[in-house]
Amino acid sequence: MKKTILEMREITKYIFDAFGHALRGSTVRILDSVDFDVKEAEVHVLIGENGAGKSTLMKILGGIIPPDGGTMKLDGKEISFSGPRESLHHGIGFIHQELNLCLNLDVAQNIFLGREIGKKLFIDKKNMYARSSEMLAKLGFDIDPHTLVRDLSTAQQQIIEIVKVLSYDCRIIIMDEPTASLTSTEIEKLFEIIKELQKKGISIIYISHRFEELKEIGDRITVLRDGKYIGTVPIEEFDYDQIINMMVGRKLGAMYQCHHVPTTEKVLEVKNLKIASHTKPIDLYVNKGEVVGLSGLVGSGRTELAKSIFGSRTYFGGTIRYDGQVIKKVHPSQLIAKGLVYLSEDRKLEGLVLEMPIAHNITLASLPRLFPKTNIHRGKERTVALKGVRDLNIISNSLDQLCNTLSGGNQQKVVLAKWLLTEPKVLILDEPTRGIDVNAKSEIYRIIDRLASEGVGILMISSELPEIIGMSDRVYVMRNGTISAELTEKEDFDQEKILSYTLG
């Protein structure tokens, strides 16, 4: 039996801001009493859907954000980190998905950044480069430490990160989706390294979505779901269906209301659209009064597809037909005027002007329609905005309240109010319920249902399978930048099935 070196108990984290501080008065838990442990020289795989809390848990372990509750023990001693550096000095290295390297520096400079070899101010270059070569060679790599990191392949850059982390004498290395941008030969190479590290007694926490990888290198698998710990399975007991089952759970409830009846009149049709030069073409359509779910992992191209339709991103060939007309090279403003709108997944960056009051945000997308003579009539603006606030039950002190003082759910409702005011015929919703509490969620579902009943075609992008299943009339699944499946019958909607198309 291998020795347990790291224990995390009952880790809790509330929804937080960019600095890792809990948002004021928030009750949304990203992590809810999660337990996790790591044994010596094992590869512990951490899986779960998007938003299950894997990254948050690892950020806490990596010292990037503090936990709001729970304890961490390393070798039986309780620990807490004030920053990533401290975590590193405790022997926990974090290799992020977006690599943390200075591309403009060379390999040795990156490895030794902040701890250059040399006396006082001057660097002992000879020594430093020799040490770097040595360290690279130990892992079986022949990379010249003078090479600029920019000129390396992604896989090689990853190796530099590993070497850098190892040079801190790390015993636990966190790898966040390390294979996401690697070719298959590079992946094999990476696995060799991982096995090599294992032999040296180093433990790896491995986050991935690819099941075939897990079987190859994993020792144990821990599943998280909705911020909760679901269970840990040794690899010998690996069972595909069981794992998927653990990932999705059963939680379809009365939250979802579907009173609308879809028509068969196509309002939005996408044909042969390629979102990147090398991806396969996409076909997709939305009928009037229909809610179409678009499922898939973050990074599978869902947002890119939506933005291509909305005219805020260039795409590579294909036609988009809206309301019978082909639309090509348009500015979002033209589409909004015609009734095609897109609610972004990032409401702070692309949905709201946080520094502006509610009223101004609600009317922002309808300015030309409301005030064709360019003169803003205050009375009219307030009436319209107030109607939006009442309709969507936005809780606020006044129409003049700035949006950055609202809760996430109310912010999202402001964005929704803004789009509803444009009287859309097609509404593309990108993660409409991300980071908001349960009440606000069910209200948003009600609004979606109501809109569909009124004949609006809705394309709903979501990582939450229950939401997709509960709300949609039809479901598309995306993987690797293209659509991997279309499910047309409600009976076919099934979390396991969708997930298997998602993961491939």
């Binding site: 390297l101 200075c102 403009n104």
Partner: protein, 317 residues
């Protein structure tokens, strides 16, 4: 798929070769050693400013305080000289004034988070105002001979100014290439998050870089006053754009993280040569401003265009 890589240094080399060929074939007297030494002497002011500016631009900043600070430091130094202070003491005080203002720039940028261009603009203007105030807007001149020798004298046939310039360029280059500080400066231009994660104080880097830039500007001002034997409260004005242009021509990227002091020196020389040629040809200096202005915009635009394209190409699914 890889696009043809045109490196900045190739552009710089080509530019300088073209300029030299054109100049020497059209202008009699251009290729004389004396003229070249003279060009280098005139360029030394730009080059010294460019030493600090290179570092500032590498950390994605900009120093617009050259205009005012150059005159201010020279004015302090000059007034002290005229009061009979020993040359080294006056110079040290002048240099210290520049460094202090520079560090203050760093403080505003780092600790208060105010954009570099406005911080340095304001500090430069305060400096310029003080330069006017110190002597009621009048010029001063008639410095001790030893001081003027620093600007105009020669040792072994090479102007003293050129030695000073060499010291600055080599010194900066050593800092950038051989010391921790240099690596941190580049690292901060490349990826500030990583620098912070490694526990390196970005404040320290900001203070150092802007302080160093102030120091260089002060030295340039002092040297200029030696060359002209005059301090005029607005004589810093032309050097603002020239210093930035020298860096930009020398391939220092406004996007941060890229650049070598030697290339900035070449950039300074190119500007010096350009001015010299236009002078020899009798073309009005007004055209020079237009030329320099256009060159900065064009080169920065190319850098940004290239970067945007690289981002486009790097997207994967």
């Amino acid at each position: 798929m890889k696009p043809v890589k045109i490196e900045k240094k190739h552009v710089v080399y080509t530019l300088i070769v073209v300029v030299f060929i054109v100049a020497s074939s059209f202008i009699p007297g251009f290729l004389s050693i004396r003229n070249i030494m003279n060009i280098v002497r005139q360029s030394s002011i730009i080059a010294i400013c460019a030493c600090g500016m290179t570092m500032v631009i590498i950390i994605k900043g900009i120093d617009l305080s050259v205009t005012g600070m150059l005159s201010f430091c020279a004015m302090i130094n000059g007034l002290l000289l005229l009061q009979g202070w020993p040359i080294p003491v006056a110079m040290i005080i002048g240099l210290a004034a520049g460094t202090v203002l520079g560090v203050f720039n760093g403080f505003m940028v780092d600790t208060l988070g105010i954009p570099a261009f406005i911080t340095t603009l304001v500090v430069g203007n305060v400096g310029g105002g003080l330069a006017l105030l110190l002597n009621e807007g009048r010029s001063i001149g008639g410095f001790p001979d030893a001081y003027v020798f620093m600007g105009n004298g020669t040792i072994l046939g090479v102007p003293v100014s050129n030695y000073i310039m060499a010291i600055f360029v080599i010194g900066t280059s050593v800092i950038m290439a051989k010391t921790r500080l240099g690596v941190y400066v580049y690292a901060m231009g490349g990826n500030e998050t990583v620098v912070k994660q490694q526990g390196i104080s970005t404040s320290m880097i900001n203070y150092f870089v802007y302080g160093f830039s102030g120091f260089c500007i002060a030295m340039a001002g002092i040297l200029l006053s030696g060359q002209l034997d005059t301090v005029h409260p607005t004589q810093g004005e032309p050097y603002q754009l020239d210093a930035i242009a020298a860096c930009v021509i020398g391939g220092v990227s406004m996007l941060g993280g890229e650049g070598k002091v030697y290339f900035s020196l070449i950039g300074a020389l190119i500007i010096g040569v350009q001015r010299n040629i236009l002078n020899l040809l009798g073309i009005h200096p007004f055209y020079q401003n237009i030329f320099v202005g256009i060159i900065i915009i064009v080169i920065v635009a190319i850098n940004i265009f290239k970067k945007n394209r690289a981002i486009e190409l790097s997207k994967v699914f």
